[in-house]
């Protein structure tokens, strides 16, 4: 009796182990290390089924900040990196971890803030806006996670002539989390925050927040894609990964990116030119 029950339990366990093993043994799949913005905005949810229908390749996306995504790839745990911090990406390729970098698409950053606009920055350019926020000590949420958006924010403080490391006080809050979490935090405390436009458009918990600064040339946000160097990491799925990179920058992939819209608004603008960078 007890043995029978035991054997049933073992059989169940065996089938469970088998199902887990088979699901991890799919070979026509690649791992792409990408950013929270591409996932949270829903872009991958739209693009990947189109890619899969054409090539039969499953793309498994790990959504991290750009810094962490590049680190994952540096360890050889991803086949392709798709991120948005050009200087970091170029160093990644120069160090031999990536094969070649291609521009894929861009969107832009927007400064989000409370509708009441306590720092009075609505409609100003980004540099004036940041100076006013710092001067007034208005609450500002920073990603603080070495992501592409965090890097862009730090670069903008420099352009504004503010040494944020010494200027930051209680008003400047580094949360060390993804874009969505930063927007949630800003929403909860009516703070200013720099966001990519895609995540903002698809974000649901806006509370009293709205776009306060947009359209400044300095808010341009370029995305790039790279195959992880198979010479560094022999485990990289070279052909499948390259197929994904090629598709993203092909006319077909580019028009798929342009076709992703939320409430009629286009989130990403394709700009691959094949010359690389």
């Amino acid at each position: 009796m007890a043995f029978r029950r035991l054997s049933v339990a073992l059989a169940l366990l065996g089938s469970l182990a088998a199902s887990i093993a088979t699901s991890s043994a799919e070979d026509r799949s690649i791992v792409v290390a990408s950013t929270t913005s591409t996932q949270d905005s829903g872009l991958f949810g739209y693009l990947l089924p189109i890619f899969k229908a054409k090539t039969g390749i499953d793309v498994k996306v790990i959504a991290q900040g750009t810094g962490q995504a590049l680190d994952t790839a540096r360890r050889g745990d991803a086949d392709v990196v798709f991120v948005h911090a050009k200087p970091q990406e170029e160093r990644f390729v120069a160090d031999g971890f990536g094969v070649k970098r291609f521009d894929v698409m861009y969107n832009d950053f927007v400064l989000i803030g409370p509708k009441s606009d306590p720092a009075g920055v609505k409609g100003k350019d980004i540099v004036t806006a940041l100076k006013a926020i710092e001067a007034k000590g208005a609450p500002f949420v920073s990603r603080g996670d070495r992501s592409g958006t965090h890097a862009a924010e730090l670069a903008l403080w420099i352009v504004a002539g503010i040494d944020i490391a010494s200027a930051k006080g209680a008003w400047y809050r580094e949360i060390g989390q993804g874009m969505g979490a930063a927007l949630n935090t800003a929403s909860a405390m009516n703070a200013y925050v720099l966001s990519d436009r895609g995540t903002w458009i698809s974000f649901k918990n806006r509370g009293d927040l709205d776009i306060v600064v947009e359209g400044d040339k300095r808010l341009f946000n370029q995305y790039g894609v790279m195959l992880v160097n198979p010479e560094k990491h022999p485990g990289v799925k070279k052909e499948l990964g390259q197929t994904f990179v090629d598709w993203l920058i092909s006319p077909e992939g580019q028009s798929a990116i342009a076709g992703y819209k939320i409430d009629g608004q286009q989130l990403f603008f394709p700009n691959a030119d094949k010359s690389g960078g």
Binding site: S24, V31, D40, G76, G235
Partner: protein
Amino acid sequence: MPDHLSALQLILAGDPALFAIVRLSLGVSIAAVALAAAVGMPMGALLALTHFPGRPVLVVLLNAMMGLPPVVVGLALYLLLSRSGPLGTFGILFTPAAMVVAQTVLIFPIIAALTRQTIEDLWAEYRDELNAMHVGPIGRMTTLLWDARFSLITALLAGFGRAAAEVGAVMIVGGNIDGFTRTMTTTVALETSKGNLPLAMGLGAILIVLVLAINAAAWGTRIWSQRLTG
């Protein structure tokens, strides 16, 4: 997962993505409980019935490991399982197998420590009887484990609860990949970060109901089999 639907609508519509997530969550947690029990129960019993120098240290260590921070276990396993790490050749990082390993590490101390306590208490009660019957060490272990089986269900449930509720370790070693390593808890974290708070809360409620149902089933099984075996 469709954004515009509430969790309740997803259940009523029989959303396949939601069911896949629930299946994966339960599958990974149950596999981890089974593995941890297979090692932890005999080890806990052995620790209860033997005396050797350093045993108190081991007991304290095992008890302390019940409080292992999941995120630290996740990070340590990430470094081990990474292709650049010592176990990288297995290529199981970012797969369900890695999540099972992480949860097994987390709940093994719980099951082993609770088993040790249970068996030690029982041993105090049965010592004279088993000694008089000249039962050998292996016999003692199996007799006591079998006799404590109903109490040990609680140890299994404690382990299962920890596994099902945990998010830090599975997020790091699983990668929260859509349709592959996305569990109930990582979905709640993701939907929260998308600002989809009602959907996140609804999914959280489903998870709590599931854990409740499993505990109720375990309780029912216990009552039923106690009646059956007397």
